[in-house]
Amino acid sequence: MARYDYVEKAVKVSRREFLGVLGVGAAVLWTGAYVATDLVQDRTKYIKLRAKALYLDDGKAKVRQSHNNAAVADVYKNFAEKPLSPLAEDLFHTRYVDRSKLGGLS
């Protein structure tokens, strides 16, 4: 009399389930990668276009150095005297606060 032992299948995933899980996993990875690269690509594209336009503005300017801006020189001549003058220190310079020491605000 032949003896038949019932052996529980070692892998408890059917072929159908296996393919399903694989498919869903691939889709998740694909979408994630697409969204990530798409975001970064788009971002640098806009950065580059805008940056280029600013360099264009610089390139076509007649005066290209701050010290040659006559209107700025006028402000010093007629008003603020010279850079780092007492009035310039009052109006155009500031101080900073150590925020790690600032307590609670209500």
């Binding site: 805008r50 010093y76 155009f92 500031t94 925020r99």
Partner: protein, 419 residues
């Protein structure tokens, strides 16, 4: 809430609970790890850590982070009030992005259109680029004084901060340093940012000589590519015009910059007032001295721009000659960390001076190694430019989001796996 002074705006960036999908994209862009919430759960912003740069806002795929400060209606009221002189100060990066909100191609330089639209809305103009030129004069003179003292050994005229000198134009970076690296605050240039200089200048020089009016009746509006500028304008120490006039015997309490509109806010304001930027007549504002700016002032909006502008002037002041080639390639471009050195012959003493400079943009990825050197006292640089946003202000948190679906077909084509 900790870490704020009285009257400062505390919660500029907040996440809308109903739009947040918990995808964690914002966390990848937040320079201060201020965003909390598990993957899949609704996120929120810890305002004590937040430097209000708005990078989460411009990079969220669902538009969940919001700019909570909306001054559009208030500015319109001021514009319609005949007694008030409303002065706009427009940042460099606004002119290359505002067009996107009105159907123009990305990367369109729209200075004259912007001037035209602002004029039609009733603004007077003090271009922030003008103030940027002035910022170079102040910040550059400060740097040169430090170099003359620390490197060339000349006696100091008055108190000088430490070297290396950091730029201080970026309000997000300033708050970041104040929160996390208080030991380097003496290295920050004491020069105000161009917007704050513009405010102080408008309410003193502007009110006295350009648009004669009482400074109290002047309303200065910063038009910025930046959400952190809203925070900066609210800092209580920025009331130097009022202090100036009090010394002259005119009482009054008012801030230097009354309010800030982002590029997006300005687009909404113009649309509310039925002004189409793409259609307005161009305007150059030639007779206004405060709308004249140099090429150095306009590149402030790019990473490396402040450095390049400062070098052009520093080179002239030290050597007595203009640079032969103004385009300074090593500080241009999008690489995360840029460094360069320039050797100059001091016209006064005949000694050679080598200026080592570094440029950092994107605090999240690129700042730590540079600042660790400074904290350890081993930094090889004399001047370091820091901008919080990757690419500089052109990519600021106040710029138009997802601009221009130029072609919906291209957009869907791009989703195909083989493209």
């Amino acid at each position: 809430m900790k870490g704020f002074q009285q009257q400062e705006l505390t919660s500029i960036i907040q996440i809308d609970r109903s739009s947040c999908k918990g995808c964690d994209s914002c966390k990848a862009f937040c320079p201060t790890s201020a965003i909390t919430g598990k993957y899949g759960a609704v996120h929120s912003v810890d305002s004590e850590k937040c430097i209000s740069c708005g990078q989460c806002l411009v990079n969220c795929p669902f538009g969940a982070p919001k700019d909570m400060v909306d001054p559009v209606d208030k500015v319109i009221t001021k514009l319609k009030d005949g007694r008030v002189t409303v002065v706009a100060t427009t940042a460099p990066a606004v002119r290359v992005a505002i067009g996107e909100a009105f159907g123009m191609e990305p990367g369109t330089l729209a200075t004259e259109k912007l001037y035209g639209a602002l004029k039609q809305a009733g603004f007077k103009l003090l271009d922030t680029n003008f103030a940027a030129d002035q910022c170079i004069m102040e910040e550059g003179s400060e740097l040169i004084a430090k170099i003359r003292h620390y490197v060339l050994g000349e006696a100091a005229q008055h108190h000088l901060g430490a070297l290396p000198q950091f730029t201080s134009c970026c309000p997000a970076w300033v708050r970041y340093a104040e929160l996390n690296y208080p030991q380097i605050l003496d290295n920050l240039s004491s020069a105000k940012s161009p917007m704050m200089m513009a405010g102080a200048l408008a309410k003193t020089y502007g009110a006295a000589k350009v648009w004669p009016t009482s400074p109290e009746n002047m309303y200065v509006v910063g038009i910025m590519p930046c959400t952190a500028k809203k925070f900066e304008a609210s800092r209580p120490e920025f009331a130097s015009a009022a202090t100036y006039w009090r010394k002259q015997g005119q009482a009054g309490n008012y801030p230097d910059v009354d309010t800030v509109l982002t590029t997006r806010d300005l687009a909404r304001l113009l649309k509310k007032m039925n002004i189409d930027l793409a259609a307005v007549p161009e305007f150059t504002d030639q007779d206004n001295p405060l709308a004249r700016y140099s090429g150095a002032g306009t590149i402030f909006g790019n990473t490396g721009g402040v450095m390049e502008a400062a070098l052009r002037t520093a080179y002239f002041v030290i050597t007595g000659q203009e640079l032969a080639v103004l385009e300074f390639a090593p500080v241009r471009g999008l690489s995360g960390f840029k460094a360069a050195s320039v050797t100059m012959k001091d016209a006064k003493t005949g000694k050679e001076v080598t200026l080592n400079v570094a440029v950092v943009h994107g605090i999240k990825e690129n700042l730590t190694p540079v600042i660790d050197q400074v904290v350890a006292g081993k930094s090889p640089y004399q001047f370091i430019e820091v901008m919080n946003c990757p690419g500089g202000c052109v990519n600021g948190g106040g710029q138009p989001i997802n601009p221009m679906g130029t072609s919906w077909l291209d957009k869907y084509k791009a989703m195909l796996p083989w493209s």
